[in-house]
């Protein structure tokens, strides 16, 4: 307001300067909102600094997506390690964190996965308060729809596992599903008839960008350097050990290098001289034009693998299965998109007139058992957070928490003891068919 009445460029310059200095201290509140409304929202501080990289850190985290930023935050907060850099090739949350369908849930099958993902969901439940940043968590329910007697058997087995693992989940009959999803094709001629469902009430969606930004801001406030436009070109070695990274912004050294780069894990592993059990695929999603509220929960069809929710803007956010061959092209291919649309319209014929506004793809790191890898790499000095496949977003708080524990203590967190690289040789796979939410 003052600026409006009294245009004074010296003053504006001073404010810009103060903004940077204050970035760490500012907390969001109703009072702050009112105060900034009075000055036409022109004086909000930057959410994080843009620091010049230092030459030495205790930990360098490669990848400024949700997992990398959460890892940095928990390293600083839980373990007091704040001489940490998060380096990101592009912009924060511009990879898979900004390319998913924002679903959070913990309806996994095996104890290891169920306990880990439920921990992640519990962290999500307190995340807005923890970070002082509204991640817009909406626990509107995640409803998996069964279309046949076999689906109902699978769902019953699944819900038993959930309840044994202490995760909420309940079976719904066809009438109950119909109440949740009145627009679902319920005609006698439906190709995928409605038989029942599995509801996790604590499942839902969260604002994906806010998760990345909230962690970045909170980590920055604890002293972490968040460095964007900084691509890793190679690794610096001292004998057998990796002691730093060569980047587009110069050499950065640290005794521990943490990789949280999802679909690009194999690319960085190759630079460091090892291979991973990872294959990179494009996973597509799309949104329709916005409409009035038509869908109250996240719905997933076991027959088609199609799932959808409605965003706060009113757009239907729709996703399905992976593209059918490995890819690093962040766009996806038409045949898979057509298959997802066909599946969507079998389930909800009334959506046939909606136009698609945007379509995108993220490059996901698929491993054979759909269980992540949180472990030391075969090369000394490198630590791995990868293998999330199609489900990395929902895991972000948990993945960051257990990865920070591994980096700080050199021992796996209790919740991630099974998520090793050696399981591929020992055979102790955690073959999590519920990871994708559909029967494979």
């Amino acid at each position: 307001m003052r600026r409006l009445w009294l245009p004074n460029y010296t003053y504006v310059y001073t404010m810009t300067h103060i903004r940077t200095e204050q970035s760490a201290a500012m907390r969001f509140s109703a009072l702050a909102l009112a105060r900034n409304a009075a000055s036409f929202h022109e004086n909000w501080p930057q959410l994080w600094r843009s620091p010049t990289p230092q030459s030495r850190y205790d930990v360098i985290i490669v990848g400024g997506g949700g997992h990398g930023l959460a890892t940095a935050y928990y390293l600083a907060k839980e373990h007091g390690i704040s001489k940490v850099a998060v380096i990101e090739r592009g912009w924060l949350g511009g990879g898979n964190t900004g390319r998913n369908t924002t679903v959070v849930r913990s309806n996994y099958f095996y104890p290891e996965s169920a306990h880990f993902y439920d921990f992640a969901l519990r962290l999500y439940e307190g995340l807005s308060r923890e970070l002082g940043f509204n991640v817009m968590l909406s626990q509107r329910g995640m409803l998996t729809i069964g279309h046949s007697a076999h689906h109902l058997e699978l769902l019953a087995r699944w819900v038993n596992a959930l309840q044994l693992n202490g995760v909420d989940g309940e079976l719904l009959n066809a009438d109950q599903v119909r109440e949740w999803l009145p627009l679902l094709n319920n005609s006698a001629a439906a190709r995928y008839p409605l038989r029942g469902g599995l509801l996790q009430r604590r499942g839902g969606i969260a604002r994906h960008d806010a998760v990345a930004w909230g962690y970045a801001r909170a980590a920055d406030a604890l002293g972490v350097d968040v460095i964007q436009n900084c691509e890793v070109l190679g690794f610096i070695r001292d004998g057998e050990r990796i002691v730093g990274v060569e980047t587009t912004q110069g050499q950065l050294r640290a005794p521990k290098i943490a990789l949280a780069v999802a679909g690009h894990s194999s690319v960085l592993a190759a630079k460091a001289g090892f291979r991973l059990p990872v294959t990179s695929y494009a996973l597509q999603a799309f949104v329709t034009e916005p409409v009035k509220p038509v869908l109250s929960c996240v719905a997933l069809s076991m027959a088609t693998g199609v799932y959808l929710s409605q965003s706060d803007k009113g757009e239907l956010v729709v996703g399905g299965g992976l593209d059918l061959y490995p890819s690093y092209a962040q766009r996806g291919n038409l045949p898979t998109l057509q298959g997802v649309v066909a599946g969507l319209l079998e389930l909800f014929p009334c959506f046939s007139r909606l136009r698609l506004l945007r379509q995108w793809a993220g490059i996901v790191d698929v491993v054979h058992d759909s269980t992540p890898i949180i472990d030391k790499a075969p090369v000394s000095g490198i630590y791995l957070n990868c293998g999330w496949g199609t489900g990395g977003f929902k895991a972000i708080p948990g993945g960051g928490f257990v990865f920070a524990h591994l980096l700080a203590t050199d021992r796996p967190h209790k919740l991630a003891e099974g998520f090793t690289l050696k399981r591929f040789a020992s055979g102790a796979l955690i073959d999590e068919a519920a990871a994708a939410g559909i029967s494979h």
Partner: protein, 93 residues
């Protein structure tokens, strides 16, 4: 949409084909002599490169023959295809 030149049928659209993994991939043996780590290398570990890769494809809805494709995973460009018995095509950088 990929258009893949099958060595037997000519160029066809992507939905006619199935991807079949990186080559060369040689099964280690004899079974009694294979270590756990060598077996894991064969079963699970992959180059998964960003760029040109040689891989096996099956023309499921055509001649039903396996063949080799040199494909760029970053651009989806297909550089060459060859029949399975032929020498593996060179990757041109």
């Amino acid at each position: 949409m990929l258009r893949i030149p099958c060595p037997w049928c000519g160029p066809r659209d992507e939905p006619e084909f199935r991807w079949g993994g990186e080559v060369p991939l040689v099964r280690p043996g004899p079974p009694q002599a294979v270590t756990e780590s060598a077996w894991a290398e064969y079963l699970f570990m992959r180059d998964n490169p960003k760029g040109l890769v040689r891989e096996r494809w099956l023309h499921t809805l055509g001649c039903r023959q396996w063949f080799i494709v040199v494909r760029n995973t970053a651009t989806h460009e297909i550089q060459a295809t060859s029949a399975l018995g032929d020498p593996l095509p060179e990757i041109r950088p």
